[in-house]
Assembly symmetry: C2
Homo-oligomer: 218 residues x 2
């Protein structure tokens, strides 16, 4: 399996929970809707939620060109992109051994602005389709004014680490005799019933993209 | 309404989506299960998912004392703690006006290690109860060894900004004539059916804390 490189910045301490192979990293990235993007702004760490998409070993972000984050990231700065799925609450007999089940990925790379119109359009297509697969082709074609006012940022994945916890609690041997409930409460992100905006042209049905999105998060 | 201070680091550009009052900020913080914690490590931004709790104007984090993040944050460094609820996918008739509905909070503060045993215990109680209200009192009492091996980090909220988007898409006037579905797909985080670990003492029922947790995320 092809691996992402590690160094002291992304090596996970508990190695049994870590993975660096591309299959694991990509699956976690592709399955989430929101990433938390970290960068340094005037010596302070800044973490902003953003939608995104992956194309091979590159992550794409977007935002209004006027937005601070597009300006900051467009300069070619180090960023950290973290994606987390919370999968369960792990209740042990002791608070100490209580935990959560999760799948997360931490990506590091240098951000740069995408200027090429074709790459920008490809990135925006991927971001739109990441939210609802196939949505780009259902929408009205993007015009030049819209394309020009949108900032697209590319982050080639330089290092990446996945970290996962699965399974039930692991209590101390003597605690199993205690009359305390222990186990896992599963957590899921689900999509509800689509609510149209009340201004649909007659005869317009719920599109394929929503069915696809619902199938991914059900 | 009492407000958190703003400066150029946390002032939101689109002011109609921003709030700085404590009621709004606290409600968003209290309603989430995982925060994304940003700090600077060897000049790189680092973003790590963590569970947490709030006590007034202070956020508490915890981790094994041996963990890099506990060591890094314990030194008294600037951190950014971001919490995001994804509430909906907003599908407009154009990709450009497509968006997501969300509630997020970005907090800045200087982290410091909590050494006082009473404050540590209070913080761990709050973190445990944040995951499942009342869970601390249901679990076996924490012993000194456990308390000593757990690092607790306090982050007094120095600045905070909430940002929210609600409602449907806002398309360009001429696009409403297009035969394209537009609206919102609600997104929710839900808790599933508790799964015990198969080692319960006879007669142990699902505790109150799980019912409380489920009521908060249903």
């Amino acid at each position: 399996m092809e691996q992402y490189p590690t160094n002291k910045l992304n090596k996970v301490r508990k190695s049994d929970r870590a993975a660096y192979d591309k299959d694991t990293v990509h699956a976690i990235l592709d399955d989430a809707l929101v990433a938390h993007v970290g960068f340094v702004d005037h010596d302070w760490p800044m973490v902003i939620p953003m939608i995104y998409a992956r194309d091979g070993d590159t992550l794409y972000l977007h935002g209004a060109k006027a937005a601070r984050i597009a300006k900051a990231l467009g300069k070619g700065v180090p960023v950290c992109i973290t994606v987390t799925h919370l999968d369960g609450l792990v209740l042990a007999r002791s608070a100490f051994h209580s935990s959560v089940n999760y799948r997360s990925v931490v990506v590091h790379g240098m951000a740069h602005q995408v200027c090429d119109a074709d790459e920008k359009t490809k990135a925006l297509t991927l971001i739109t389709d990441h939210i609802a697969p196939g949505r780009w082709d259902e929408t009205r074609v993007m015009n030049d004014k819209e394309l020009n006012s949108t900032g697209v940022i590319a982050v080639p994945i330089e290092r990446a680490a996945a970290k996962c916890r699965t399974g039930g609690p692991a209590d101390d041997d003597e605690d199993y005799a205690l009359p305390i409930w222990a186990g896992v409460i599963p957590v899921r992100q689900v999509l509800g019933t689509p609510e149209d905006d009340g201004r649909l042209v007659a005869g317009v049905d719920i599109p394929q993209s929503i069915e696809q999105a619902k199938a991914r998060h059900s």
